[in-house]
């Protein structure tokens, strides 16, 4: 057990920090500090292409696909320095963290050739099509249908249905879609995992405005939407397995970058408390200390996950991580507002647009819902982690 980084690691950290800070002070200074996912998408795509040009786009990937095959320590360091430098989150997060690794793990060589270089280069932005309006938490209740047809002599998948909560679909190029390809199948059986180009007549995207006034999420409608037969990952009917594999990638190194974003939020709260005198309130002091403790425990929990040698086994730290950070962040949003007082409820301009902390307060209410509600997380922990009986599925 060892927490410290080696001298070589620290040199790598300095290299990362130098380059990132240089970029944020130079050509890309206009996007420094952006926290809202929907802000400046075009400039951010350019930024992600710049990352790729300097081989910083996906350092954990194999070198042949644009990565550096970086060690865990280096991935940790890069993620931390990325956030510390105030660089905005990746608009192609889904492509780099989920779609790419899924294609690496389950794709054909042709698919790897077709997608990985463009994802790595920031040229293909992916979004994900899992949830459906009737099945928010119940991922297996997929109703979107896919069927294979011969069109002009070519086999094509024809997709009909609706996805929801497709984050950033409106600025994405591709979407991966879990759909039901076996007529009459139920639950996790008979599902298929497809990659579809968004810019086609059969796909329509409508933004969903959230309670913070922003519109990160979308409804995505499929009406005889099409993709070639070779857009299929795995075999028809293997969609559930692929999707579950993909979700496991969510517990990767990117969590550390996410945490650095949290660090920035907490630091902003601390600065606000010092500025307005809330820092002398013993109740606020306790809550800030708790937030500080919680953030560190997330960090060390993530390092425990990442230090696991046997990655096939999801251990306690990994099982509990989602609810841990979501609950922590929701409490952070409430702390932020209590530090700000009524001033936090008033925006600067005439638009219904919020600064980091009030926005955190509003947005964090979604953290405990998307990606599996806190209730679903507790089920998973009790059932997979502690061997309790599963919640019975009904037949309504």
């Amino acid at each position: 057990m060892k927490l410290g980084f080696s001298r070589a690691d620290e040199l790598f950290r300095a290299e990362c920090a130098d380059w990132l800070n240089g970029q944020m002070a130079g050509e890309f200074r206009d996007i420094k500090g952006i926290t809202k996912l929907t802000a400046s998408p075009e400039r951010r795509k350019e930024w992600e292409q710049q990352l790729a040009a300097h081989k910083w786009s996906c350092i954990g990937w194999p070198e042949e696909w644009g990565g550096r095959n970086a060690s865990l320590a280096h991935q940790v360091i890069f993620a931390e320095e990325y956030a510390r430098a105030g660089v905005p989150g990746r608009v192609n997060h889904i492509g780099i963290e989920l779609a790419g690794p899924t294609i690496l793990a389950f794709g054909t060589d042709a698919q790897k050739q077709r997608f990985l270089p463009d994802i790595a280069a920031g040229k293909t932005i992916f979004c994900q099509g899992f949830s459906e309006p009737g099945a928010g938490s119940d991922l297996a209740s997929v109703r979107t249908k896919a069927r294979l047809e011969v069109v002009s002599g070519q086999e094509e998948w024809i997709v009909n249905g609706q996805k929801i909560w497709t984050s950033l679909a409106h600025i994405s190029d591709w979407i991966f879609v879990v759909s039901r390809s076996e007529e009459g199948s139920k639950g996790p059986k008979g599902l298929t995992f497809l990659m579809m180009e968004i810019d086609q007549p059969g796909i329509e995207i409508r933004g969903i405005t959230q309670i913070n006034g922003d519109a990160e999420f979308n409804e995505t409608f499929f009406t005889d939407a099409r993709c070639p037969a070779d857009s299929l990952i795995g075999a028809p009917g293997e969609g559930w397995k692929i999707a579950m594999g993909l979700l496991a990638f969510e517990r990767g190194v990117s969590t550390l970058g996410q945490q650095m974003g949290f660090r920035n939020e907490l630091d902003e709260i601390i600065a606000a408390a010092k500025a307005n005198g809330a820092a002398s309130d013993p109740l606020i002091r306790q809550r800030i200390a708790k937030a500080e403790i919680g953030l560190n425990l997330m960090r060390y929990g993530a390092l425990r996950m990442l230090s696991q040698t046997d990655h096939s086994k999801i251990d306690g730290a990994a099982l509990t991580y989602k609810i841990q950070w979501a609950s922590w962040r929701r409490a952070l949003g409430e702390l932020a507002m209590d530090v700000l007082g009524q001033a936090g409820e008033v925006a600067d301009g005439a638009e219904y647009e919020w600064d980091t902390l009030p926005n955190l307060f509003l947005y964090s209410r979604a953290d405990t819902i998307y990606g599996g509600t806190n209730q679903i997380q507790r089920n998973l922990i009790a059932e997979r982690g502690l061997g309790m009986p599963r919640e019975p599925r009904g037949d309504v």
Partner: protein, 352 residues
Amino acid sequence: MEFAFTDEQAMIAETARAFFTENATSERTRKAMAADGIDHALWTAFCQELGLSGIGIPENAGGAGLGLVELAIIAEAAGAQVAALPMLGSLAMAAQAIAAGGSAEQQAEWLPRLLSGEVIAGYVHDAALTADGNALTGADQFVAHGAAAQVFVVTSNTGAWIIPADAAGVTVTACTTMDQTRPYARVALSGAAAAPLADAASAIAAAHRAGFVTVAAEALGGAQAALDRTVGYAKERVQFGRVIGSFQAYKHRLADMMIEIEQARSAVYWAACAVDEGSDEAELAVHSAKSFAADTYFMCAGNMIQLHGGIGFTWEHDAHLYFKRARALQSMLGSGNWHRERIASMILGDAA
């Protein structure tokens, strides 16, 4: 000793509930949110057609008599719909201050117009206000519906005045506010000449007690509505082949809401009754009610979002109206911690 509504109170509750349910619809509220945060037609109808706007104001001051219990009943019903109305500032605080501390002339001049809804008043409080004679200098950053008010009752910790919004030295700046059903305005006074209320101490006490109780009652109504709407959703929404209300964890969350709400209900009507009866417990009760009910509302509105899942987080669904109102009620007129510290001082003496 009878801690239940009289028949008359039950009737007022029924009338108010029916009125707000029918008229304070989400659609109308959203229109008001996009404008100045007031559904003016609703306010006029409430004041002039329903005939409940004079409740809590003595009959000799042009009101309908009755007391804070009845005012709480109305605020609860309005809160249940997150109605976009200036009830808190104009009726519960400004009109109460004038009724309790204004001269007969001041009452005659202002109360009929406030109760008819013809004029909207805002309540401005600045503990650090300076008064050079009756020329006031100071500011309140968070005057509820302040940009829609034509007149302000202004208080410091010791003085109380009335001043028209268009008087010289008064600057009103509307603010983009998280709860769009009750936008704040910044009201700045710069040597503004105001008319002093005859009995400032009574005016301040009445406004604050009525304000605390009204906020608490609104919170109670909002919390109950958050529970009711979530219960409705729980019976309809199916996940994993079951209505989600059949999941025990979901049920228990609903139960926790009800446990808090029932206590908030006791708190609100205890406080209203204690003030009306001039009980020794009145101060303890109003601080209890404001802090407890607002916290209950926030908990319930947060649960409303959580228990609706993704849809509860959209602008289109009403959950965020409740959530934002709940947050506003927590932070306005003193935080929960502030009110509890007041109670601690009563029990334990001042903090060292």
